[in-house]
Every structure is written in structure tokens, then in C-alpha cells.
Symmetry: C2
Subunit: 369 residues, 2 copies
């Protein structure tokens, strides 16, 4: 079984980490802790996540009604959560707000995007963001830096945008080339312009009771907005978040908790993730592992938000590949009460939330309500 | 049933919050979100926590073998996790490190404590911290400010310690009087001296994968240290944290996740907390509700860390009261495999961790290993 193999691998990796064999970033700190021998609890263990160590399933594992190991022969009864049309609705509302802002105070929100290198997927994401800005009347500026540029060059662009009063949101497209210090660069984004919500102060304030982050990361915010607009009650519900990345899993779990869900976070070290997931009223999956969540992982009537987006080969499709989520849609749609499709679910919401955050930033700075 | 009543109350409070009736701090932001009508997901919901809204149980509810509603007539078989002696061991190790530091570089760690007002419990905590410093050779400075002092006065003291090179850790004893802005004051503690770990940057970096907080809050760190020193494996285990306070519940859940536990956070809005808790291999409870966790909430063999410390009336004890935790110890000790007593469990660890953080801060600044 695919899942068993994956867990086994993750356990092996875990043992290596525990024994201090794996040459990962935190090791230096661990050694220091052990050398003083005052405490036995090293901090820097959390370095591995699902997409890093779970083996990709073989192509024959991709689920389809015919390859399903379970009997999901019933009809697809889940309501489809149509992220595309919800995102369009939000974008229209943003366009109206932007135009009201221009009319009332003669200003519009501004977003700056910094892209380093020539990753095809990053280029596409950035282009989509800029097009989306244009569509709603948000000004956008774009800096493209070569793959081998220095950290100083990135910082210079960043500081320029930090200091530009016509720019209210600054984002650095991730992932950055490996020679650049992502933590250092993201920490330099001005807090008031951190529309991606990745600054540790924003994450810390999202986590803490009684605090308000200036921004919440776009994808998690999009997930919650989808739930709310679909009439899903979150308060008191058991939500399972699969994956704990800084960009999706972590802030989504914190946000669900803010909405008073009881939250369980699953990751590659979790035992029997299918049993835990089966108890969830709401499942948000952001593991980046196609086909991870099968129909029999779900409680009948659960609501499923699938953040995963992986291209897999498909000779029958126009471009030779198609996008799949973490969830076996065909099976899940027969068990869940509502589900997001991939594509057309969470994806469009991410950009809509980026626009909303940029509008929010501009309205805050201009004191415009 | 006590628990039912409490949940009922919390639900009523929840409904009020959802309907925007309760006059809580986040309402302004909620209104703003609703007024623009761009998004429907207000951020500022998480404002209530267990101790605030769960009604205290009546004295007759306090568990004892005779009043137990369940049949826990077996022997107390759980190993007692002796926080007092573990903390003493750590304090001895710290004393040795401090003396090595003095010998090698002629410097010792320094801790400054700011206390505002005359709360008896706060005074006791502060006195214990200062005594503990003295015992291990850590220099301590103490500022006591009157209950009605201005925010400026607190900030002045804080900045003085922030700028004092002989001071490596600064802590503001909580809770502060209501007229002072706790968030603003805590955010002003210099990050490198935030030995309490309450700064949002430290919380954010604790939460984020691949990041390292400079400090982890003392009580959560103490809980993990107790588990590790008791030989409890955390990785892959299901841990349930009851309560989500900034000081204990939240950072404990983040820390357990760093150690690769599968973590579920329970709070006053959680439905059937006893069912979820019964699935846990590790239970950390920090709700501040005496007698909340009964024997039948636990899976046989679970490890229980009880952070709760509530004084309850007890005419038979010397001072007319005794301290109890969140867990019905007598019942739990018959089900769990290991358990911390109250007092003598987590309590002593908190101060030991404060000393460890102060030592760590000093060694970092002095580049002394």
C-alpha cells in the first residue's frame, strides 16, 4: 500500500533526525543544546514536511472510479464549492471598492511583485497576479531579477518598494533560488505591506489570542472564505488540516482555530492519518501529494477543501498534463457533503485574497473606509 | 453535569460573539470587514478561552476517590513525574554553567523582573524567580511599580533593562493592571532578552517550519523537558492540549508539533472534549479549571501533564486552601501510565526554564559555549 510505504519512509527519516544523523539545518543548535547538557529538549526538530519525504505515488495509483480500491459506486452527491465563481464575485466587489477609493480620495491600491529566476510556474503565478490587479484597478509594479542575482539586489528592490508610498503591498514570489536567504528577505518586507502574511510577526499575531495580524496569508484566508460563503459552520467543528507548511497548513490551522474549530494537524509523522481524518467535519488538505486522501478517509457528510495542486502526466489532455489535488475527487464526492474541485476550487481564491489584502493595506494606510 | 453546563455557557457566549452582540475588542475590525462587504471572514473571533467562560465547578465536584462518579477503584499505577526533583537537577546544571561562565569570561547572566501592582500571587511568583536566580548565581534586578503607574513608567523601566548590557533577560510579570496595554508593553521587550518567549516574533518563529525562536515560553518548554526526561516518546504520538492561552496552551501545541506529535487543541468551543482526550497518548492540560479531566477522559496508558494550578478552599490544610490541577489526580493515576502531580509537577519546571532561558540569552550574547 502506498500510504504504508510513505509512512515507513517518514519513520526512517525520523529516526535519522532523532539520532542526529541527517545533516539538516537545525543540527548545529541541537549540538549546542546537547553540549551544555542543561536541557535535553532541542528546539529545531521540525524540519521535514509531507512533500519533502513522502514518496510520490506511482502513476497507476492515481485514483479514478475504476482503480478505486474501495467500493464508491454511488453517485457524486457532494455540492461542488465553486471557487472560481466565488473568487469572481469577490474580485468584482474589490473592483467597486477600488473605484470608490479612486473617486473619493484620488488614490488606488498598489502591489509590487519581485520575481527571482525563471521558474515557469512562478512566472505564470506572477503573471496571473499582475493581470488580476489590472482587472480590478489595482496598480502593479514588477521586478524580475536574474536567477544568479545577489541577495543585495533583492533587498534593494524590496527596500525601494517598502519606501514607495504608492505601493501598499510587497510580495516576493517563492520559492527563491537556494543561494538566497528566504527568511532574511521575507523578514525585511515592511510589516504594513506584508500582503502575503508570511512575516513572523503576522504569523505570531495570527496565533495569539487577543492579537490581530495585519494580514493573513492568502490561501488560508481563501479556504475560510470558501467555507463561510458556502454556509459551512466552523465553530465547534472538528477540522483536520493535512500538512503543516508555513504557507498553507500552519496558518490555516491557526485561522480555523480563530474561528473556534477544534483543530488537529496531520503531517508525515502522524500515525494512521486516515483514522484521524475520518473523524473530521472539515478537512483541509495541503500536503502536495496527489491522491493522498481517498474516499474511505472521509466521514460521510464531511466538507473537503483541497489545496493541493500537482501537475501529473496525462497524454490525453491538451498540454500533456493535468492538475490534481491531494484528494481523490471521484471517491470523495460520493462521501463528502461539499468539496472543492482542482482546478477551480482554492486556486482562484488565493489571488482574490491577495487583491483583498492589498486593498485592505491601502485603505488602512489612507485611513479610508 | 458540570461539563455540560460549561459547554452550554460557552455556546451561548459563542452565539453572542457570532451575532456581534458581545462588546469585545475585535468588534471594530469585524464591523469594518462587514462594512466593506468584500469579505465575509472576520479575523478577530478568537477572544474567549476556557478560564474566561467555563463556570467554576461547585466544591462538591472536586474529585476524590469517594466522590468519583466512575469506578476507579484500582490502584494508582501511574508513574509520578517528579517535576520538583527534575527541576532541581536542571538548576544544579545551570549553577555549574553559570560558575563556568564566571570563571572563564568573568561574566554572569542577568535577569530583570518588572512587577506592577500588589497582587499577592504575582509577588510570590516574582520572589520565587529572584530567589531561584540567586541560588544558581544569576544576577537579578527587580522593579516594583505601583498599581496605578503610567504606561510610560513601565516602558521607561523596560527600556532601561533593554539597554543594560549586564541584563540578558527581561520579564514583565503578568497579568498587568487593566489600564496598561499588555500587547504594547510585551512587544517592547528586546527580542534578544525576551526570556518569557511572549514576543510575537518568538511565537511566529516557534510556529514556522525552518525558523528558530530565540526563546520558548518557560512552562511549555518545561512540559516538553518533563516528557523527554521521563523517557516519553513524542514523535508520532497523538497529543491533546486542553486550553489555548498565549502563555501555555498555544506555545505547548506548537512545541509538541515541532517534536512531531500529531496535535489537537481543545478549547471551550470544542464538542465532546472527553472523547477527543480519550484518544490521546499525551495529554497536556492548561485550562485552569479544577477537576476538568476525569479518569474516564483518559486512554489507559496515557501520559498526563497537568499545568493547571488553582487554589481551592480546604479547611483541613495549613493555609485554609490547597492547590489543585485540571486533572482529577486520584482517578487519573489509576488510568495513566505517568502523571505530574500538582503541586510539584510542572510548577517547579517553569522557573527552571526561566533560568535556562536567561543562561541561554547570556551565553548567546557573550558568544560563550
Amino acid at each position: 500500500m502506498m500510504v504504508t510505504t510513505m509512512l515507513l519512509r517518514s519513520k526512517m527519516a525520523a529516526v535519522k533526525v532523532a539520532a542526529g544523523v541527517a545533516p539538516h539545518k537545525g543540527l548545529k543548535l541541537m549540538e549546542r543544546y546537547f553540549s551544555t547538557q542543561v536541557l535535553k529538549s532541542p528546539l529545531s526538530l521540525m524540519s521535514l514536511d509531507m512533500p519533502d519525504i513522502w514518496a510520490p505515488p506511482s502513476p497507476t495509483d492515481y485514483c479514478s472510479p475504476s482503480s478505486s480500491p474501495c467500493n464508491f459506486s454511488g453517485q457524486e452527491t457532494a455540492a461542488v464549492i465553486d471557487g472560481k465563481s466565488i473568487a469572481e464575485e469577490i474580485r468584482s466587489a474589490i473592483a467597486i471598492e477600488v473605484s470608490r477609493m479612486r473617486r473619493c480620495i484620488g488614490k488606488v491600491p498598489g502591489l509590487a511583485v519581485i520575481l527571482v529566476g525563471q521558474r515557469r510556474d512562478s512566472q505564470t503565478y506572477v503573471r496571473n497576479k499582475i493581470n488580476a490587479c489590472e482587472e480590478v484597478g489595482i496598480k502593479s509594479l514588477f521586478s524580475e531579477l536574474p536567477e544568479d542575482c545577489t541577495e543585495d539586489a533583492v533587498v534593494r528592490e524590496l527596500l525601494r518598494y517598502n519606501n514607495d508610498p504608492s505601493i501598499h503591498g510587497v510580495l516576493v514570489q517563492l520559492p527563491l533560488p537556494k543561494h538566497l536567504d528566504e527568511e532574511k528577505i521575507l523578514n525585511m518586507v515592511k510589516l504594513e505591506k506584508d500582503v502575503d502574511g508570511f512575516h513572523p510577526v503576522n504569523i505570531g499575531n495570527l496565533a495569539m489570542r487577543g492579537r490581530e495580524p495585519l494580514f493573513v496569508s492568502c490561501t488560508p484566508k481563501g479556504c475560510i472564505e470558501l467555507l463561510i460563503r458556502s454556509g459551512v459552520e466552523i465553530m465547534g467543528k472538528h477540522a483536520v488540516v493535512i500538512g503543516r507548511s508555513n504557507i498553507v497548513g500552519l496558518p490555516t490551522s491557526l485561522l480555523l482555530q480563530r474561528h473556534h474549530a477544534t483543530v488537529t494537524i496531520l503531517h508525515a509523522f502522524s500515525k494512521s492519518p486516515e483514522l484521524t481524518t475520518r473523524e473530521a467535519d472539515i478537512v483541509v488538505t495541503a500536503a502536495g501529494v496527489p491522491n493522498l486522501v481517498r474516499g474511505d478517509w472521509l466521514k460521510p457528510g464531511a466538507v473537503v477543501i483541497d489545496v493541493g495542486t500537482c501537475p501529473i502526466e496525462d497524454p490525453s489532455s491538451e498540454f500533456g498534463y493535468r492538475l490534481v489535488g491531494d484528494v481523490c475527487y471521484e471517491e470523495a464526492a460520493r462521501v463528502a457533503s461539499a468539496i472543492t474541485p482542482v482546478p477551480g476550487g482554492v486556486g482562484p481564491m488565493t489571488i482574490a485574497m491577495l487583491l483583498a489584502n492589498t486593498l485592505d493595506a491601502a485603505q488602512r494606510v489612507c485611513d479610508f473606509n
